[in-house]
Amino acid sequence: MSRQRTLSLVGAAPSYLVWLAFFLAPMAYLFVVSFWRVRQYRLISDASFDNYILAAGEYRHAIIFTIALAGLVGIITTVFAFALAYLIRFHAGRYGDLLLFAAMITLFGGYLVKIYAWKVLLGSDGVINQALLSTGLIAQPISWLLYSPIAVVITLVHFLLPYALLPINAALRGVGDAAVEAARDLGARPIRILIDVILPQCERGVLTAFALSFFVSAGDYVTPQLVGGPETFMVGNFIQSQFVNRMNSPVGAALAFVTLGITIVVVFLASFAYRRVLKACAP
């Protein structure tokens, strides 16, 4: 190996080390553990698929529910984020950066603050119910606003919106004014321009936003615990309970990998569908 190459490898070593220590090694370890088992609170190395069979069987409903809920959160968040980014890119003019900043600044409030804020808003004597009661639209407080899957969806969408905004905003900035104006010049109405010119150029940004909000939702266990009520269990809650309460990390790891595998498949399907739907909508 030439001196040059050795040097460049040495120079890149810290980066590889960080990548190895923070991503590859823990994942690999957890993946191996997912084939082990626990006897009397001790890990025993094994090569069985029992944990996976358990995950696919007993926890099937939790996984399906989690994927559905995370998918819903992903879609709503992406659509909202796109609407905001579109506003910033095409209508807000020089106030665009201000709008983006306003969305980003809510990140400083932290995760738990947002959850508790929604608890206050959605509760039986919360702001929303009180307002509806006072207008006479309802006679009794709506009980299912808080401690329900709906509360989880609302809270997660709100929390994830700024994160989803970033990749879509970046993608929309990459769409040239001239291409948009050319489409207009050639007779396309705004909705056609969106479908034919803007969305195809934002594929990566939109899918990144969806994947980000979908992955985070599918792995979350704090939000369902705090606003989901006693009947909303997502797979994250079961994973947490396996690791913490039952001290059974192999089952927890298997559950995590099953969820991860399914979410990756869903994101692949979404990226496939994205193109197909746009193609089908072409003039």
């Binding site: 207009r184 010049d185 007779g187 034919d196």
Partner: protein, 356 residues
């Protein structure tokens, strides 16, 4: 008497078109007419309002006042998609995710052309613009000149009454720009359409257009044929902008301007004016010539430019004059800086222009 020309309706007519951006005046009220078959160049430095004017014609901007009349009907309030104009955008604005064929076909597909008719027209257009070979490539895989042709094809397939071109050749390198100038000229002649082109390059304007409107600070300063504008610039701005020129500030008093011992007759009000003379019309000699306008001076510099040599002389009046001399001519005088020379020019080759 009504002449035949006044009966002919102009294809495009702008009357009193003005535009402000906030407190910034982009365009003072502008009048302009363009006839069927014209190739008009809107020429001016950046920020002169030429692109604003083009975008108003295309419908991308609404003027604050004035009217845009295309083919006899008022188009002032019409959106770009409802006008019989199409634009070739600066940087082309090709759809990066569509192939060349899809790009060119887009307008027809929006207009819901039957598929077979659309295919046929696109095929013919690709053939005409000589881009059939790249029909299934994405724009990113094309060279600048090829992208330019795709942008032209995409606009021309809509059969616009007026084709608008926003700095169409600015993104190309010099060699390609020259080639595309010729192509654009030929294209205009072939299809007999009406083109309006925005450019900041005076050479391009002269090479392309049969009419030039020179713009400065939101106004059309002068309008006419390239030859007209080159030979009879209205003021020092036009004279300086079109072609190389020597501009010497003078004072006009009772119809006369004095330059050294030379008196140039020029009717008009008293005040500050300027004399304009093209470098190619200036002669440099070692002995004082007779007859013509003449100044003595010192040779400052001789710059070899390839086809010609630029001689720079500071004159007895304290002005600097540039002369363009052929290689042979230049060798006939020893061009050592500091040498005493005479600059002279023919009476009818110089002219007095207003100060801009």
């Amino acid at each position: 008497m009504i002449s035949s020309t006044s009966q002919q309706r102009p294809l495009l007519q702008l009357s009193g078109v003005a535009k402000n951006f906030g407190s910034q005046i982009a365009l003072h009220p502008v009048d302009l007419t363009v006839d069927q078959g014209d190739f008009l160049a809107l020429l001016g430095p950046s920020g002169c309002g030429k692109t604003t004017l083009l975008r108003i014609i295309g419908g991308f901007l609404t003027p604050d006042s004035g009217r845009v009349i295309i083919d006899g009907s008022d188009a002032t309030a019409l959106q770009p998609d409802r006008r019989q104009t199409n634009m070739v955008f600066q940087g082309y604005g090709l759809f990066p995710h569509m192939t060349v064929r899809e790009n060119v076909a887009y307008g027809l597909r929006i207009a819901r052309y039957p598929a077979d008719k659309c295919m046929k027209e696109v095929g013919a257009m690709l053939e005409m613009m000589r881009i059939s070979a790249f029909a299934d490539r994405l724009p990113a895989a094309l060279s600048g000149g090829q992208q330019q042709r795709v942008a032209l094809a995409r606009a021309l397939i809509m059969k616009p009454r007026v084709l608008l071109l926003d700095e169409p050749l600015a993104a190309l390198d010099l060699q390609l720009r020259k080639t595309m100038q010729t192509e654009l000229r030929n294209l205009h002649r072939e299809i007999g359409g009406t083109f309006i082109c925005v450019t900041h390059d005076q050479e391009e304007a002269i090479a392309l257009a049969n009419r030039i409107a020179v713009m400065n600070a939101g106004r059309i300063v002068q309008e006419g044929s390239p030859k007209d504008i080159y030979q009879r610039p209205r003021d020092t701005f036009v004279a300086g902008f079109i072609g190389d020129s020597n501009i010497i500030a003078l004072e006009r008093r009772s119809g006369e301007c004095r330059l050294g011992s030379t008196i140039i007759h020029s009717p008009g009000p008293d005040g500050r004016v300027a004399m304009m003379i093209r470098p190619s019309d200036v002669q440099i000699q070692e002995t004082r010539p007779v007859g013509d306008y003449c100044l003595s001076g010192q040779l400052e510099d001789a710059v070899f430019m390839g086809d010609y040599t630029k001689l720079i002389v500071s004159t007895e009046t304290g002005d600097t004059l540039t002369a363009r001399t052929s290689r042979n001519e230049c060798e006939s005088i020893a061009n050592t800086p500091g040498k005493r020379v005479y600059v002279s020019w023919a009476r009818d080759s110089c002219q007095i222009v207003e100060q801009a």
